[in-house]
Amino acid sequence: MSAGIPKAAAECAFPNGGAVSLESVPALPLSALTAAATEARDRQKGLIALLPLVEGAASRLLLLLSDPSNGHLSASSFRLEGAKEWPSITPFWSAAHLFEREIFERTGWKPIGHPWLKAVRRHRELEADGDAPAHPFLRAEGEGVHEVAVGPIHAGIIEPGHFRLQCFGEEVLHLEIQLGYQHRAAEHLLETGTPARRLAVAESIAGDSAVGHVLAYCTALEGLAGTKVPLRAQAIRGVALELERIANHVGDLGALCNDVGFLPGAAYFGRMRGNFLNLLLEISGSRFGRSLIVPGGVRFDIPPDLQARLLGTLDRDEPQLEDMAKLVFSTPSVLSRFEGTGTIKSAAAVEFGFVGPTARACGVPRDVRSDHPSGVFQFSHIPVAVAEGGDVMARATVRWLEVLRSLRFVREQLESLPAGALRREPGAPRRSALTVALVEGWRGAIAHVVITDEQGAVARHKVIDPSFHNWFAVTLAVRRAQVSDFPLCNKSFNLSYAGHDL
């Protein structure tokens, strides 16, 4: 913290899902930004977001941080005073690189000294009018270098995105990822739609993390309204969130097997994913858990007969799952593909602020469920799954460990569901307030930041999908790797294109 500014005024702290009035967020001079960012980096805080805050002529940069050491979230802001530029913090804190590029793209304000000032989502290939600049890809020099352009249309059933690899023979020198094909103006829809529509949009931000995103969305609204969600609803929300995690992790383990051509793993894990999605179907009527979570609680109960049925399915599926995992993790040809492929150093994971299994596979124990617990996780703790190595093997291991721990958690919750109401209608939202809701989705920390105006209406709704933090991990993982390992690396992260593009 730079000298002369008292510590108490430098930032305002609040718990995950709590709301603070906008006035209590300190507005510091722009010169304090560098010091604040340096301190956050040195104390290994998480960067939730760096946002532009436009209030008439006075504009501010809003810095939102999470501190895993004490569980607090904090907000501070920096006055631009009419300037259209600020000193970039990316050169010393890489975690901010995409946020600064995004502000540049949205507002035209310039982060001075940013090493890669390019558009995040908007580029000529996507625009009908063609006046946006072509994306300035980094092009490797040298006689034998060739470019490999993959996408936007991929051979599998996956989302569109363009990957530009600079290769020398089979070796990848550099990868640049150009996304934006999935941009649907989700944040704008969340700010302007009717409440029912907003809920549907929140469920669709990333189709495979419907539960995670809608939970963050509802937590934010409940924080603004000061609603206490009934315990039974909290438990059911937790069950749905963990079932979503299990289904996706199991599905991805199968996809990893598929990418290395290991047939049994691909077939059985793929089938098992369906079984877990069907559990969500039984609870909510949607395989992806849609329309289960609503502001103030949940829409559907888990009655005793369903409870028994769910536990019965778990009893049947868990041994099968364990058998297959035992086979996959003991097949030498699979291990030789997983081990040492797409390695990310632990220091890089911290430096770039990676979240979720990506970070935990590098030995960085970041998990919102234990760092900033909210909802049911305040009462029931899930141990953080960490692996060392940062390679595909470590990511597969973390995912498998999380499957096992989430299964135990789901079982515990189902066996002792607290009694009580399902929903408590939220009241009117607080005016001129700011709230941040963090939820550990299966890819990592999902953040919804909501700011209300003087009437209590939503003025700004910012969504940060974990993919936004993690896409750069793919770039790092494939550098100096073989181009034929790129799909495997990419799959081990399985990041969301839609969540990034919003």
Partner: protein, 344 residues
């Protein structure tokens, strides 16, 4: 290799094997004269048409110079020893000699023949890789440097000379046995056995016949594709690149990249040298990579010799005296020394 087998077979008393070896060697020399000239002529045509002979700046010439491309492809396939062309006929004879040696020679030359057999196979594979690379990088795909002048097909005389050589390559490939019969008197200078007495001649006739069958079958298949497509919709469109609209010629394999996996396999022999910069930064501002395989003999034998020699001579020059008297003294000492050596 053919002549080597021939000599070994002669010395161990297997004239039939020797005849095959010598015939293969002779025919291979002839064939090399044909397809090497063809390749050089085609390379000359490319150089004339495009103004550059740098392989990584070329590409896509087959659209502009289809006849030159055809001739170069024939030459490339011939030098890789592929049927139905002449390169295969001579390699076939060498292989026959080696197999003959494997089957009938004593154990030491037998083992050597097995080794030679495997090496020849590997060399064949590498040659085919190398010339597929050359053909691909020069003639196929899209042009890599569109800013340069558009190349045009070379004049008819140049095409004619290449065409004659290409036809000769195919002709020998189909009628190798006739040519071999003509070689027989030469072979008999080396070996007591006439080629007619070996089984090779019949085999060669069949090779020719089957090569003709290959040409015929390919032609028939070509016609049947035409026939099958006669009432169907045949569309043209861009090459599939995952739906990306801004495709550039840099998005195709370069000659160096094509060869890199092979170079990697033999890296302990070829010792590639790499110059790389800029790939360690988190957000690199620029990247550059270049790799080349310097000739190991030049690098480790001649290079150090020349540099070492230069160093030694420059040291010697430092020792060179500045005055004439010193030279006279040196001559005198040398004379005395020599006299003492001869007389004393």
């Amino acid at each position: 290799m053919g002549a080597g087998v021939g000599l070994v077979a002669l010395s161990t008393g297997h004239p039939a094997v020797a005849a095959l070896g010598f015939a293969g060697a002779l025919l291979h020399v002839t064939n090399h004269a044909l397809f090497k000239s063809l390749l050089f002529l085609a390379a000359g045509a490319v150089g004339k048409a495009s103004g550059t002979l740098q392989i990584d700046r070329l590409g896509g010439l087959a659209r502009r110079m289809p006849r030159t491309a055809l001739c170069f492809t024939v030459g490339a396939a011939a030098i890789s020893g592929l049927p139905p062309l002449n390169g295969f006929v001579s390699e076939f004879l060498v292989y026959l000699a080696l197999l003959g040696a494997i089957v009938s020679l004593p154990v030491v030359p037998q083992s050597a023949a097995v080794l030679a057999f495997a090496v020849l196979a590997c060399v064949g594979g590498l040659a085919s890789a190398c010339f597929a690379k050359a053909t691909g990088a020069i003639f196929l795909g899209a042009r890599r440097s569109p800013e340069e002048a558009v190349p045009q097909e070379v004049p008819a005389e140049m095409q004619l000379s290449m065409g004659v050589l290409a036809a000769a390559c195919l002709g020998i490939g189909l009628a190798g046995s006739t040519l071999i019969a003509g070689l027989d008197p030469v072979v008999r200078q080396f070996s007591a056995v006439s080629l007619r007495e070996t089984a090779a001649l019949g085999g060669l006739t069949l090779v020719g016949a089957l090569s003709a069958a290959l040409v015929g079958a390919a032609f028939a298949a070509w016609l049947s594709v035409r026939w099958l497509l006669r009432r169907r919709t045949v569309k043209t469109g861009p090459t599939w690149v995952c739906g990306y609209p801004a495709v550039q010629p840099s998005m195709q394999t370069t000659a160096s990249s094509f060869a890199q996996p092979l170079i990697l396999v033999f890296k302990n022999i070829l010792l590639p040298v790499r110059h790389q910069s800029g790939s360690s930064a988190a957000f690199p501002a620029a990247l550059a990579v270049e790799e080349h395989c310097p000739d190991p003999i030049e690098r480790f034998l001649l290079g150090p010799g020349v540099t070492g020699g230069a160093v030694a001579f420059s040291v010697a020059r430092q020792a060179q005296p500045k005055r004439v008297q010193s030279y006279v003294l040196a001559i005198f000492i040398t004379l005395v020394g020599l006299l003492w050596w001869r007389l004393g």
